[in-house]
Symmetry: C2
Amino acid sequence: MADNGKDITIYDIAKKLDISAATVSRGLQDHPRVNKNTKKLIRKTAEEMGYHFNSFASNLRKKKSKVIGVIVPRLNSNFMSDVIAGIEKVVNNANYGLFISQSLETMQREISNADAMLNNRVEGLLVSLAYNTTDVDHFREFIRRKTPVIFFDRVTELENCPLIHIDNFKAAYEITLHLIDQGCKRIVHITGNLLRNVYKDRFDGYKKALEDRGIPFDDSLVIVNDLSAAAGTVAAQQILQMTPLPDGVFSSNDICAIACMLAVKQAGIKIPQQLAFAGFNNDPTCCVVEPNLTTVNYKGYEMGEVAAKMMINYLTDKDSVQPAHSVILRSELLVRESSLRK
Amino acid sequence: MADNGKDITIYDIAKKLDISAATVSRGLQDHPRVNKNTKKLIRKTAEEMGYHFNSFASNLRKKKSKVIGVIVPRLNSNFMSDVIAGIEKVVNNANYGLFISQSLETMQREISNADAMLNNRVEGLLVSLAYNTTDVDHFREFIRRKTPVIFFDRVTELENCPLIHIDNFKAAYEITLHLIDQGCKRIVHITGNLLRNVYKDRFDGYKKALEDRGIPFDDSLVIVNDLSAAAGTVAAQQILQMTPLPDGVFSSNDICAIACMLAVKQAGIKIPQQLAFAGFNNDPTCCVVEPNLTTVNYKGYEMGEVAAKMMINYLTDKDSVQPAHSVILRSELLVRESSLRK
DNA sequence: CTGTTAGCGCTTTCAT
DNA sequence: ATGAAAGCGCTAACAG
């Protein structure tokens, strides 16, 4: 910025060097057919004059933004901040910027966020759906514009958008089998909004495991809440009032499982002898709580990286118009003391 | 976007309605002196034609971006993701966008992030410094351009930039006094890079408390590391080898304190009887670990909100060229079992 | 209340 | 290897 308060432009540099703005533009972009010395001179002068590239002008002209949009339910969960960190690293290394917003779990805000992404002409959109999103028409305009949309974790089928997630059904199936193998026969399942694949699939995995082991599914053992710590504490009270007392709890996330476990423990229940526990996510807290919580390991950082790399590939290898392909990331059962009865 | 693959512009709308582009622009902006019906018609037509506002063109013309930049060391810590969530909410509600990047604790990346912020003409910048940033010249250009820069948490004096933080000295002083009052006489202090105010001030508070209680400061009781969980485990080994064994530990963050505590506990040390513990941040895990960790409550969400609101105020109340003012947020000592020996 | 016009700063043919 | 010129889409005087 010049001292008169105005931005230095390539024209200012051009005038000073008595060359054309076109050459300055090319020089700054390291265009092959610009004289090496001219380039060097342009860079030096730009630096000296305090020139700063104007992305708007460039974006307007080139009709692209070098920015990738991200819409997530909340930023402040251990899982999601890991995802974002992974995305940011990949995106930044590829010289793209990140435009981030949170839907705060409401579809209404998700829609307005999507609109802002459109106005800012993001070149790609990474989305994890809000708790109560019922339809995804607000993402169709991106598809019409051929702007890639990739869903991760909380996904949904939409045209040919790639989905990045784990096999929630299988992971839940395995963790439930594990509880059964430890001798549990009445297993409570705490879950979230079944509209979301992550909760629906885990619920289905739970039911399938019961079925495969010949345990009848009991509706009254299912608790639906928002999976927060507070909800976990409330769930503990519900569980304590069930007769007979259940002998296992599989919560669809760790935060809720841990709060619930602490509360029933407080009430004098022995864990895992009387009540075995299992969660989901492998939150760091699992290894702090006593007994350590059995869970499904499923790290966000990697998911963020994978989603972002896929996006960067789409945007970079213009040729590879490969059909959109979804990715199922690995997850693993981590057995810890909270469920070990043998 | 039209079906031919080109964006619909205000000119397309203007042509269709046989009015001028200026009127369309005004209508879309809800300009007062545009006929109500015309406005309604413009909106309806824009909607029908699939028009989407082009921020670049607008930004270029208006020389403003309606975007606020954020540079933080890492996105994936409980504290920082809370801060970001608070910022995002305020910024989004004020109809600004968020451009986020992480320095990954290096000054080099902080500099390149700052450069990207400049290119994208952010209207304001919120910064929490990287671990090893030694000078902040890379932010001077923003000041020259009168782009407000606000530091939070990990702050530094720079021109008149507002600083948002807590009284780290006082909080550390109080928590150390508390340990002393519980009978601790040899208190280990685990800290991070003393270049950063947060660690330096806490260290100073610790020393002052010792001094005020007539306990000589002992250099060999100070452990400097990166305050990660892994570092906490290592610190535990160092502590166990100290003779005589210390009787208290004050760690500059909770994550490190908890890892350390779990490790010494594992080694058979009784907490708090043999070794009392205190951390900093009030991470949710404090209430899960046994015994619960004494700490300083200091929530990020509020800090993010305060920083963002101040920024929005600067950007909105053009008149209030009030001198930059820093804010010291409240923090509170939370005494829990890990330090209660009486 | 509405239209005309001149850019914002950059990129990119098309020339030379 | 460099220049001239047009235009990306929007806004804000200014004029009426």
